[in-house]
């Protein structure tokens, strides 16, 4: 399994992602600078969290036009795996690999804390090592995590089992108090139609170490091998 982590100017979870991949899969990923157009041959590309281009103008908008993204889109269409975490998720929606958009959190504030997520489906590679309905605690840290999609796209996501993660409480209940950003339908992570592209706001790379943040995010990485 060869994995590349893309570094955009302003990415800042790239090192964390590298560490998490190395720790969970035993081999460090290729760290790929966005301006180097030639994307190495890999099975999986991870777009890390952070503030690409400062998130100026719109989160993920400028990174979506970075030269490497054309390659990523092309490869994704051929079926390689793509994971966008936080800012990576925002880039994936901007570039059109995933539907919808991530808007400013409902209370307009940046939020960093552990949230509870329910694994909504396991019929995809990324959550294949989780149980459907399992509740896991994973950190979030974002200003623009308020997922929005129009009714048409929302219905498609639901009908096609593309909603992977929802915000819940520790007992698995949904409600306005458990949704940290106001996202539609409590959505925290989605897949594309082909189920080879995953976008999620929570940071699984912050939950792979028993001593720091727990290990409930490990299986996102383990699942892809």
């Amino acid at each position: 399994m060869k994995i590349a982590v893309i570094i955009f100017p302003g990415s800042n979870c790239d090192r964390d992602t590298k560490k998490a991949v190395a720790q969970t899969l035993g081999c460090p990923p290729i760290m790929h600078w966005h301006a180097d157009v030639e994307l190495p041959k890999v099975d999986c590309v991870i777009l890390p969290g952070g503030f690409s281009y400062g998130d100026y103008l719109r989160s993920g908008a400028m990174a979506a036009h970075s030269p490497v993204m054309r390659e990523v889109v092309g490869q994704a269409k051929k079926g390689i795996l793509v994971i966008g975490i936080c800012n990576g998720f925002q880039i994936l929606t901007e570039v059109g690999l995933l539907p919808g958009v991530l808007m400013r959190n409902k209370n307009l504030k940046f939020v960093c804390r552990k949230v509870w997520l329910s694994i909504e489906t396991t019929k995809n590679i990324f959550t294949s090592r989780y149980r459907k309905g399992e509740i896991i605690g994973v950190p979030i840290a974002h200003h623009d995590g308020n997922y929005f999609a129009d009714e048409y796209n929302l219905k498609m996501l639901q009908d096609n089992d593309q909603v992977v993660l929802r915000y819940v409480d520790s007992a698995g209940r949904r409600g306005p108090d458990t949704n940290p950003n106001g996202s539609v339908d409590d959505i925290a992570g989605i897949l594309n139609k082909g189920k080879n592209v995953l976008g999620m706001m929570p940071h699984p790379e912050r939950a792979v170490d028993e001593a720091i943040g727990g290990t409930s995010g490990r299986r996102f990485f383990e699942s892809i091998t």
Partner: protein, 79 residues
Amino acid sequence: MKLKIHIRLKAGVLDPQGQATRNALHSLGFTTVEDVRLGKFIELDIEEKDPQRANRIAKEMCDQLLANVVVEEYSIDII
């Protein structure tokens, strides 16, 4: 040539910033405010003499980068 571009959310798209701003205005006592929509306003200088061409370029810039046409619409004014 100077361009002014307004970018706003399409009708029907939830505007969390607008809503929060409205609530904040209410709590400051501006209770007559009914609806608030937030948008972006971009001023551009562009080296271009022909207004039509400028307009076309602006449109391209909006489609490609400045607006997210999934949820936003834009208008261009040339001065």
